[in-house]
Amino acid sequence: MSLKTILKVEDLTKYFVVNRSLFSAGEVVKAVDGVSFSLMQGETLSLVGESGCGKSTTGRLVLRLIDPTRGSVHYQGQDIARLPADKMRKLRSQMQIIFQDPWSSLNPRMTVKEIIGEGLRRQPGLSRAQRKKMVLDMMETVGLRPEHYDRHPHEFSGGQRQRLGVARALIMRPKLVVADEPLSALDVSVQAQVVNLLARLKRDLGLSYLFISHDLAIVEHISDRIAVMYLGKLMELASKRQLFAQPRHPYTQALFSAAPTTEVGREKKRIILTGDVPSPLNPPKGCRFHTRCPVAQEDCRQLEPEFKLLAPGHWVACHHPING
């Protein structure tokens, strides 16, 4: 793995205004609030967290499908958060996205050839025959058969549709792929097929993944490094090995302990958090996790912890990291 940074995200922030009307200024949802990380070439960085933590929004900000409120996204040294629209459009082919829902992510009125070939439309100097060959090649790469070429999305199963989504993204020859929960809508017996496909394509095409998921077993399998998010903020970021061997943030620890495993009978120390995830409309003051944290102290309620380096490559945002 080369150590070239392909993506560097700094202080990335997105506030949404909701319920705005003629008579009220609305309320602010702090979906993503000052997130910083970087992604190396050929690396898989996973973003994990529970619903509403802002991981999907982060993925869309990275691709600038939505504009950030604050912060920068440096893609190969260039800040795309502030790039003019026309220049951004030229860059788009290099960064692609794979979506969660294999139903709403494909236009039901288009055929396979149109869906996969849509991105080639903007590439100059391609003949019809060349384009067709590229589409067929890509179909083969993701495991679709040539006879699927003229079919509509509704003729496919969830797993095949997800392959279609992968083909649509990869025909652009991207360097960076954001995979937004690409497995969570699939049956267990089909998930493995897509996991293997993503892993093989990464190896063959030299991709870098930002892999967004809530399924810790799959994250552990696929990632190089893992970032844990909670209510719009990063709680912990470390290599997979470090994180699973020794989580330092109480939230990471609770999250990992809560995930059920298929090992029967192993007595495991489960940390049951109290309460639900607070609303990002009104996140707690101080450390955002303090309302549910089993080791929270007075300073946690007042002061927001900094996201700092605890050990080489191991970042944590906590006043009282575990066994430090």
Partner: protein, 319 residues
């Protein structure tokens, strides 16, 4: 263990404009008093339809075409509707996957909880309210006397699932059918709810039929496991044996295809996809995907055999 509820040769079919879908095909299993039974399967395996059949609530156009459901010496499929209503919510209750949509948005929590009580017991509104508050406290809802006045949309997903559990257990039922009770919840909330269900199982002694597609949830919660595929029970046995020495190739494949802690590299891939219920393969429904397929698998239905004491599989390998 004493059998409390037993399902025998249940068949449920859905008659649609596309044809007839055999959603449940000869399913038999039972649940013991106070037991936690895990029922696992992917979408279309018939696990939810089986649970709905127990309460005779299979939605249109589904029909229970054969089978028996034995409970307290009666066949629930034969008793009059009026008596069936006395069973529902009182002796056997059910909770559903989506806590967001399984509570009626138009009524308060109090209304919905006390309604269940009034329906089965003669009691004053005050008594019913007190019982409801007591139950809400039991499922760890903070400040239950106040929360009871809320509408469902005031509560978070985890809270609503607790309300559902509270309601289901109001009348100390013998069996709780829990259909994917944690699937819509976040991992940390799922852990809370599962933990709660365990405590209640131990405390009240209600047997729980835990229906889920999540193998991890079953491994950590159930004592016995039923594995379903395409409307059939393909394997059944003690949880430890199922997860450590699965006998049916489907169960084996399913377990191999989920990532293991510390594992890396290629995951085991099962061939193909879950077939449509309208076009099930002949013989064993798993045979086109089965790595150990034999000639007889595509021809006739496999036998149900005991492979170890208390551990059965539906497969030609053990004929």
């Amino acid at each position: 263990m004493e059998s409390l509820l037993s399902i025998e040769n249940l068949e449920v079919s859905f008659h649609t404009s596309h044809g007839v879908a055999q959603a449940v095909c000869g399913v038999s299993y039972d649940i013991g008093r106070g037991e936690v039974l895990g029922v696992v399967g992917e979408s279309g395996s018939g696990k939810s339809v089986t649970a709905l059949s127990v309460l005779r609530l299979v939605p249109y156009p589904g029909r229970i075409s054969a089978g028996r459901i034995n409970y307290e010496g009666r066949d629930l499929l034969q008793i009059p509707e009026k008596q069936m209503r006395k069973v529902r919510g009182d002796r056997i209750s059910m909770i559903f996957q989506e806590p967001m949509i399984s509570l009626n948005p138009a009524f308060t929590i109090e209304n919905q909880l006390t309604e269940a009580l009034h329906n089965h017991r003669k009691m004053s509104q005050k008594e019913a309210r007190e019982r409801a508050i007591e139950m809400l406290a039991l499922v760890d809802i903070p400040d239950p006397a106040k929360r009871i006045k809320d509408y469902p949309h005031h509560l978070s997903g985890g809270m609503r699932q607790r309300v559902m559990i509270a309601e289901a257990l109001l009348l100390d039922p013998d069996v709780l059918l829990a259909d994917e009770p944690t699937t819509a919840l976040d991992v940390t909330v799922q852990a809370q709810v599962l933990d709660l269900m365990h405590r209640l199982n131990e405390r009240i002694g209600t047997a729980i039929m835990l229906i889920t597609h999540n193998l991890g949830v079953v491994a950590e919660s159930a004592r016995r496991v039923v594995v379903m595929y395409c409307g059939r029970v393909v394997e059944q046995g003690p949880v430890k044996e199922i997860f450590e020495q699965a006998r049916h190739p489907y169960t084996q494949g399913l377990l191999k295809s989920i990532p293991k802690p510390g594992g890396r590299g290629k995951l085991y891939e099962m061939d193909g996809i879950v077939p449509s219920l309208f076009e099930l393969p002949t013989g064993c429904p798993f045979n086109p995907r089965c790595p150990q397929r034999r000639p007889e698998c595509g021809k006739s239905a496999p036998p149900w055999r005991e492979v170890q004491p208390g551990h059965h599989a539906l497969c030609w390998l053990y004929a």
